[in-house]
């Protein structure tokens, strides 16, 4: 399994506080990778290192063998898209305009008004299911609708790599599954997806590669069927459970026994 995007022996933290010490992860190309783990285990921090928001104090994050910090920002942003948590839209912005901001790395001094930009924005809104909201103000929307608008924005960036920090937050269960199915579809089209997910069963159902983290370390990784068992659930989450095949899909299904 080849990996263009890798973290090697990176130590990550904020100021003096170290979150992850010497953690390594090779993101498998063309696969859907899900990162799971308890709160404050360093999932988001690791994601931030991949998208250059956090510089490791030791070790290196590389894209195509070159340190991510050495890539030109716009060119890197045409390769790797990122959806953080807790976003706030500018006041009074309409959905279509916000989605169009995803085209920034493709733009010039004149902005992002080419036919390719317009098509990318249209298709991103279509795919994220917000096309009918195009002219609505973002602050008028519900939390779930807003989340889908942000997803449309990062889709409009049209990057081969898509990294998302808890993208299913605020979504109702139907939209959660639709979004995960969308990621699987994008994966089938050749994109690489990395998402921090909270729901272990959703991770098992949709991801090709599951990364379990705890205390800043990668505890286990591999195909969900090989990795997820009662032992892992106890070790990572401290949760007693039984793991059985999902009757609908055959993927591992975790049933907590507390």
């Amino acid at each position: 399994m080849s990996s263009r995007l890798t973290a090697e022996d990176v130590t990550l933290g904020y100021g003096e506080r170290v979150v992850s010490a010497r953690v390594s992860l090779a993101v498998p190309d063309g696969a859907f990778t899900a990162i799971v783990g308890p709160n404050a285990c360093g999932k988001s921090t690791l994601l931030k290192a991949f998208v250059r928001l956090l510089t490791p104090s030791s070790g290196a994050v590389r894209l195509d063998g070159r340190d991510v910090a050495d890539h030109r920002p716009k060119r890197f942003a045409r390769q790797v898209g990122f959806l953080p948590q807790g976003l706030v839209a500018p006041e009074d912005i309409v959905v279509r305009r916000l989605v169009a901001r995803g085209r920034y790395p493709h733009g010039s001094l004149l902005g992002t008004g080419t036919a390719a930009d317009a098509e990318a924005v249209r298709s991103a809104m279509e795919v994220a299911g917000v096309a009918e909201l195009a002219e609505r103000r973002v602050e008028e929307l519900s939390g779930g609708q807003r989340q889908r608008v942000w997803i449309a924005m990062v889709l409009a960036q049209e990057t081969p790599y898509l990294l998302l920090d808890e993208p299913t937050t605020f979504l109702d269960i139907t939209h959660q599954y639709e979004l995960l199915a969308l990621f699987a579809r994008l994966r089938d089209e050749g994109r690489t997806i990395v998402a921090v997910l909270h729901d272990i069963n959703q991770a098992c159902r949709f991801a090709d590669h599951l990364v379990a983290m705890k205390g800043g370390r990668v505890v286990a990784q591999g195909p969900p069927a090989d990795v997820v068992d009662a032992e892992l659930m106890r070790e990572v989450f401290g949760l007693p459970s039984v793991v059985m095949p999902n009757p609908a899909t055959g993927t591992p299904m975790v049933v907590p026994t507390v």
Binding site: V51, R52, L53, P73, K74, R75, F76, A77, R78, V80, G81, F82, P84, L87, V88, A89, P90, E91, D92, I93, V94, R97, L98, R101, G102, Y104, P105, G107, S108, L109, L110, G111, G113, T114, A115, A118, E135, M153, Q157
Partner: protein, 339 residues
């Protein structure tokens, strides 16, 4: 929402119809006020006389072209410049209170100008350079004192208000210590005034402002991308550190250059971007409506200053300070409510 489109090569620039209409109305308003200001004097000229004077000359040509026109031009260009400076800093701090006049940059620029007058000869070039340097220094002090939260948030605004107070005190002290003629010149000007502005005084400042506007044009896409928050801005390819530095430079440049000629004119930079934003109902703090609103506001304020106690012309800063005080109180109460 309907939009107007403009084609430049393969790129389509889309403008909300409302923004376009509001901009056109503001331009019309500015033209009307400019005509009124050109007519106004000890003896009112008719619009026909003004047109004759501007196009062909005539008996009142000297008064209108050499006395009134530079003042009107200064009010428009300086107003636009202050509006832009305000929009830049409000974008930078993501706070409607984060404008250069509130956070002490005008006061800093004025300190720079005072130093240029009292210690040097006070030529136009020295004044401009002194003001920009003073403004940048004030910005650096505010930035260092609010470093914990970076260049954003209410903390920076509060620190800025304190710095503003200290610099205002420093300015008073410099004026008190200065030679009497310098002190007189400086105080006539420390509330911001366009009285007696002539072409010779404003040529260089206009050129400097033109350069900073050019810089803003180049970085405007990145400025708006920055309004999405640090994380999205950076992961979509904005060099945030460099952008912020350029924004501070352009914002200080726009406000300090005005201060060098007219003294600190408050309120325009604070209010114009917010009024422009509300009129245009555009996203974030857009630059063009801010500039146009600033031009209209300063010209209107200068007219009021001339007419209020005619034949005595008040400094325009008195008018803007009076309106600005009320606006600031309202804004502060809104900010407090929001939190």
């Amino acid at each position: 929402m309907s939009t107007l489109t403009l084609r430049v090569g393969s790129v389509v620039i889309e403008v909300e119809r409302r923004t376009a209409v509001v901009s056109a109305v503001l331009v019309g308003l500015a033209a009307g006020l400019a005509l009124l200001a050109l007519c106004h004097g000890q003896d009112w000229a008719t619009p026909a006389e003004v047109f004759t004077a501007l196009t062909r000359g005539g008996e009142s040509a000297f008064v209108i072209r050499e006395w009134r026109l530079p003042r009107v031009a200064a009010a428009l260009v300086f107003g636009a410049s202050l509006g832009l400076a305000g929009a830049v800093f409000q974008n930078l701090t993501r706070n409607p209170l984060g404008s250069p006049d509130v956070i002490g940059l005008d006061a800093g620029a004025y300190t720079g100008a005072l130093v240029a007058i009292t210690l040097l000869n006070g030529t136009a070039g020295q004044l401009a350079a002194g003001s920009v340097a003073g403004g940048l220094l004030a910005a650096a002090v505010v930035y260092l004192l609010s470093l914990d939260s970076g260049l954003s948030g209410l903390r920076l605004v509060v620190v800025g208000i304190a710095v503003n107070a200290m610099l205002t005190a420093l300015n008073c002290w410099i004026v008190l210590r200065a030679e009497i003629d310098v002190a007189l010149a400086a105080t006539g000007w420390n509330v911001g005034s366009l009285n007696g502005v002539d072409w010779a005084e404003i040529r260089l400042p206009f050129a400097v402002i033109g350069l900073f506007v050019l810089l803003l044009l180049v970085i405007s896409q990145a400025v708006h991308q920055g309004a999405l928050g640090d994380e999205i801005a950076r992961t979509s390819g904005v060099r945030l550190g460099r952008l912020r530095l350029l924004m501070v430079l352009a914002g200080v440049g726009c406000t300090a250059t005005v201060t060098a000629v007219a003294g600190p004119v408050v309120f325009i930079a604070l209010a114009a971007p917010q009024i422009g934003r509300r009129l245009a109902r555009a996203a974030g703090v857009p630059l063009v409506p801010a500039a146009l609103t600033g031009a209209v506001l300063l010209l209107a304020a200068d007219l009021v200053a001339q007419l209020l106690l005619a034949p005595v012309a008040l400094p325009v800063g008195v008018v803007t300070t009076a309106i600005g005080g009320c606006y600031l109180i309202w804004l502060l109460s809104m900010e407090v409510k929001r939190r």
